[in-house]
Symmetry: C2
Subunit: 776 residues, 2 copies
């Protein structure tokens, strides 16, 4: 006999002695315990959508727990970040460090990645491990990085200048480590879209080349001059580049003006070109990317849904016992399992889930009900309690006095909100006015006082615990901003009074906080709040894109630094360098690049390179940048900029737009899921539902997870316990899509075996006849 405890983070520890009180007291024999651990791992994976196929031997399961431990994951991310950030310290560096230092850190990172890989190979069956391209990919990358490091080191000892070419491979770690599933999916989506977009792109390039040929024939021999006095459309490659830039609209209308000045009818040529290549083709790119994105997203979601079901079935099979003619899981096992899987939910919440899973209170849970467990656990049920305001308990006389009641009524009145909206607007005007006027700078204190009083009044009226509940985003936001503003303003004033010196950084922060305070006004208008909530919902998945973007930017930044670093330099205004106005090189004399004062747009370190790439993403003036860099290096340098444009603007931005469109449509077409409805029905049945429009005054979120009640609802209702399902804003687009797919698999369908699930292709998807809803 032994006691098993699996903590909330899934790491496994065994206590030799010392029983925990209440239900946590678990008595199982070793086989049972191992089965339970295995089932917990399965349910865990199902709940968090991990699709790792792990071995079921006790040793592997233990290693698997360790593999998924948050510390291991944080460590992996840490090493990935360090490895990527090495570029900040390597030549050309923001902060130069000796090669020895960076190479030691790099070797450490590589070791960590290798260790992680070895760990993974112990968890998963070897046959699957070696079939997985991402493992091979990481291994090869580690090898290449090492080889490059050794060669570069040897050559630098021999004082031969060489290139650290393997640095472009570093983002592979970011993409390929199992934790970054979302980034990998975005990458797969791009890879899958490539063939189809390729044909449209070729057609598009064909049209550009054809129009260029026409332009050369029509305009090349007219001896026209551009606004800078250079020959207009003089040779074919020049025409192609100019017209390609016109697709991005960056040189419109300049590229048209000489021809238009010569003869107004030539404008038709350019208008036709823009309509076809900028508007129609760019929309077609979006359509193709979006269509593929949807198709592959569906497939990915289907895989996840099947995988989840598979894992739940495996968990069920591990724990099942025969009762009568069917296999079930006994109530006590079920409770143990849930306690281990989700240790931080309250007893009453667990009891509620049991009621939903075991409708008829038979004392056991059937297979279909058990499979829903992962979804049940994913629904955020908030347990609430009716409580008195702390002040009411502390000094009931004062709190219940007529004055106190009057204050509370005022605060709850709509006029209170309007009054503060007015104050914010006045505040906005004061911010825009001149700071140097002492009246205005002192007004800041008045506003701060107003805001502080507001928060205090609200805390007086509403229970502080409900005011600072997890889902009260705006209350948290307000309080943080006001406290920060208070601290920063006091700091600023004291710095000023002490040393007659006002720190620019502190002042900047004060300014920013002061303006951020105005955002509050959004929350007063219902329609704005809805849009904001949708945006906040999309945010987490949007962050996936930053991962994707960083990976691609990083590759281009490293390549750009190798090609362009040091060619263009920035000089401060009072520099004495003879070429200070030409970015330190005579090649840029009289160029648009130098005239626009773009010298700071260079590839001399990682930070600058990223900013240039952002400017290129925004597209405008990218031809000026491209021409500038091609003047200081070679005309072929333009290819680098065209490649970047194709990858980022035609692929990535379109995927981003596709993603936002999809997310919005899912948000719009949203309804409650079956599982949610089941829980809600049960809550209603038990008479423990919170009225949506009830004032939250006295209902406080129940944070205690270890009440000692054994689970009869009679007691809990007496204690004033209520349940509420958390609002929409906590749902991710992914989860919503998955739910929709699940609604379409019949309950009995366990899906294909696990090896097949991984290889499902979008073409296997059962294609429904298009319906009116699907299409329009």
């Amino acid at each position: 006999m032994s006691e098993a405890e699996v903590t909330s983070n899934g790491n496994f520890s065994r206590g030799e002695n010392g029983r925990t009180e209440g239900e946590s007291h678990i008595d199982v024999d070793i086989a049972d315990e191992q089965n339970l651990l295995l089932a917990v791992a399965f349910v865990y994976d199902a709940q968090y959508n991990r699709n790792i196929h792990f071995e079921t031997s006790p040793e592997a399961v233990r290693l698997y727990y360790f593999y998924n431990h948050w510390l291991m994951q944080v460590a992996t991310y840490f090493f990935i970040t360090v490895d990527l950030l090495l570029a900040v310290f390597e030549e050309p560096a923001v902060f130069p460090l000796p090669f020895l230092a960076t190479s030691i850190v790099e070797v450490l990172c590589l070791l960590a990645f290798f260790g992680r890989l070895v760990h993974f190979s112990k968890v998963t069956p070897l046959s699957i491990f070696w079939k997985d391209t991402k493992n091979i990919c990481v291994m090869v990358t580690i090898g290449l990085n090492l080889i490059d490091l050794i060669i570069y080191g040897a050559l630098s000892i021999a004082e031969i200048q060489s290139v650290r070419w393997s640095r472009v491979l570093r983002p592979i770690y970011l993409i390929n480590f199992a934790e970054s599933r979302q980034i990998r999916r975005a990458f797969r989506s791009i890879r899958n879209t490539l063939p189809e977009i390729m044909y449209v792109f070729l057609l598009f390039m064909f049209s550009v080349l054809l129009f260029s040929l026409m332009a050369l024939q029509l305009l090349g021999k007219r001896n026209l001059k551009t606004a800078e006095g250079e020959p207009y459309f003089a040779n074919y490659l020049d025409v192609v580049f100019n017209l390609y830039v016109l697709v991005t609209t960056a040189n419109s209308p300049d590229v048209m003006m000489p021809a238009y000045d010569h003869n107004p009818w030539y404008a038709i040529f350019f208008i036709a070109y823009i309509i076809l290549n900028t508007y129609i083709f760019m929309s077609v790119f979006l359509a193709v990317v979006y269509n593929n994105y949807r198709k592959h997203l569906k497939n990915e979601i289907r895989k996840l849904a099947y995988m989840k079901r598979r894992k739940m079935v495996d968990a069920f099979n591990t724990l099942k016992v025969k009762v009568g003619s069917e296999f079930v899981i006994k109530e006590d096992k079920w409770k143990m399992l849930v306690k281990l899987v989700a240790p931080d939910i309250s007893n009453s919440h667990r009891e509620l889930l049991l009621r939903v899973s075991d409708e008829e209170q038979n004392g056991y849970v059937g297979k279909d009900a058990f499979i829903r467990l992962a979804d049940l656990l994913n629904i955020k049920v908030i347990t609430m309690k009716t409580r008195k305001h702390p002040l009411e308990s502390w000094m009931p006389h004062v709190y219940k006095s007529a004055w106190s009641r009057f204050i509370r009524r005022v605060v709850q009145h709509k006029g209170f909100v309007y009054a503060y909206d007015g104050i914010i607007l006045v505040n906005a005007i004061f911010i825009a006015l001149d700071e140097s006027n002492p009246l205005i700078s002192n007004a800041e204190w008045v506003f701060l006082a107003f805001y502080l009083v507001e928060i205090l009044l609200k805390l007086y009226t509403y229970d502080p615990r409900s005011f600072f509940a997890k889902n009260q985003f705006w209350n948290w936001f307000d309080t943080l901003i006001i406290v920060a503003a208070l601290i920063a303003t006091i700091m600023n004033t004291s710095l000023k009074s002490v040393g007659q010196y006002s720190s620019q950084q502190v002042l900047d922060i004060v300014f920013i906080i002061r303006v951020l305070r105005l955002i509050r006004i959004i929350d007063s208008i219902q329609r704005f709040r809805v849009i904001m909530n949708t945006l906040l919902n999309i945010l987490p998945t949007m962050l996936t894109f930053s991962g994707l973007l960083i990976a691609i930017y990083y590759v281009f930044a490293i390549v750009g630094m190798e090609i362009f670093s040091g060619k263009i330099r920035f000089f401060p205004e009072n520099s004495t360098d003879p070429y200070a106005q030409e970015c330190g090189t005579s090649a840029l004399k009289d160029s648009a690049f130098a005239k626009s004062k773009y010298c700071k747009n260079n590839f001399n370190d990682l930070g600058s390179a990223f900013i240039v790439l952002v400017e290129l993403t925004v597209v405008n003036q990218w031809h000026v940048l491209a021409n500038g860099f091609s003047l200081v290096t070679h005309t072929a340098a333009r290819l680098y900029f065209i490649a970047f444009h194709i990858v980022i603007v035609i692929l990535i931005i379109n995927i981003f737009v596709a993603f936002i469109l999809e997310a919005f449509f899912v948000e719009y077409s949203l309804e409650k899921s079956e599982v949610e409805t089941a829980i809600e029905k049960k809550i209603q049945e038990l008479g423990m539902a919170v009225q949506e429009d009830a004032p939250p005054e006295n209902l406080v979120e129940n944070m205690e997870s270890c009440e000692t009640d054994a689970g009869t609802f009679g007691e809990t209702t007496q204690k004033g316990l209520m349940f509420r399902i958390a609002s929409k804003r906590y749902r991710t687009v992914d989860a919503l899509l998955q739910r929709m797919f699940e609604a379409e698999i019949p309950p009995g369908d366990e899906g294909p075996p696990i090896e097949d699930i991984v290889n499902l292709s979008p073409n296997d998807l059962y294609i429904h006849n298009p319906t009116f809803d699907t299409a329009a």
Copy 2:
């Protein structure tokens, strides 16, 4: 007894004597004839999706035929065009005409519009006529136009300068005359989207204002200078304008550079701004517009579908007779009806439709089958015949000789296509080379000869009638281009040899044709052909947008001409005007507008105004244009440009993108409709199907519509008649959507009464639970 003939265009004529042969011989009494005419009008409307509610009195039906006559429609469009084009001749004019001339033409147009309206009021029930806002709208506009004309005329006699303000109302005729249903729908779609987009726009503007406040606080007091040496972010309105321009990306990265040069960390501010306002908000605009577009499109389609069904039911009720227990339409009536509705389809085609409608050959058509008639008529069935090549009939010995057979085999071989692809590529290189070399200019004759030989060979191999069949787009294209090139080249050469003078216009046309010839290569590559077909499919509906755009451009152009005309002038290069370099005004000295040589971008006539508006639509450099015009008039002039940007870029372009996305998805999710399947099944049953992959050599489209066969298929099959359903490329997105909706209405459902159909709102749409297919 009398004979009725309704021609294909729906106009009604009655012959006093002279019977037509065969089945066109129709003997009906007057009531029957009137019923038939009424039914024809109903079926016509159903087939072409007209949703006009007309009165059923014989007089009204006759007027209705006249109302729908193509001459009347062409006349309406003609007057609309003339009315719109008046702006070309009115001050500020491209071709000035005296006020008297333009006002007489305008009065004529107004009379025509009024007449059209009166005609319509006779056709439709008066209660419905007066409830329809578009009629009221047109009437008010006519009144306003007249009043304006009189006031302006009176004032100009008294030599007082005034404004022709009512000219901005002219596009109302384009929108509101019943023929431009598609444009009206696009406008309705915009109007319906407005409230929802308004909230997002306010939130977006709020964010711009907030960021501007922050920028003013952070950067306004640093005494920074822009690249032009002007103060940077000096006052709030200036900051707001600059940051609004940054949303359009037109002044990126220039607006960032001074701050970035001062301190690299300020770049974060601008990057955050661009991510939020340019990328996220602009995508949200697209999402909101797209979502509304879909919602309202669905509603419109539903209205159309119900209206169509209603009209078919009305037609059925007009002609029905009782057979047994149910109402039906007799075969002879049905045939008469179809002959009148679609006089240009062949007898065998009509027979085929009858077989589909009257499955069991009972001699009558039931209600459900009859309702499908409108759809059946809309499916393009191509009747084909096996025929000999004309040369084969003419000189069989030569045509069947070994040599002739060899030539034909060569032409049919894949290598033949590849060889010509090679020739096209070589041609492309020659076009890009220098024309002055005599070798190269003579090569043109060689290429022309090659292309001519190709066409002749193909005509020799394939039947000319199948080579020039309606659906052989590329054959037509090739032949036209080659013939045009031949004519233009000969003209050019003869002009050159006669007068040593080569007309620039002819030369330009020769160049363009020469390049267009290269497009052929697209057809050789299957994947390109697919994309091209999709684009060609979308084209007709895309033209709707040109109508929409022209209406909006027109309004802005008229307003722009009133504000800006004459302020900026263009001078040819060798002008002696002291301000020639500053567009004729000292106000533009040293401005970016003058430096970029934008003087020709002005509002001095309708043509120039349209080109400026196109440039503003493309967005790039629009701040230079806006600043230029605000320098010569007033700073408030910027509002005009901002308004244009909001309307065109945020609304119209997004609707355009939404439309292309939708069209692509419908194309992708396409399958055969139920009705098509029914026809195809019947064709198969009769053994008259054309194999899709069969060589089209000997099958020729049958153009004769009046075969004398009475309709037994035995005869027709002996004559080698075959049927084929025309390919996808003739279907419009609208028709596809409508079909999808129809598939969802149960056959018995006749929909709500006609008055309710018009008022259906998208919120009445039955909302299905979202399914996986709908959402992802």
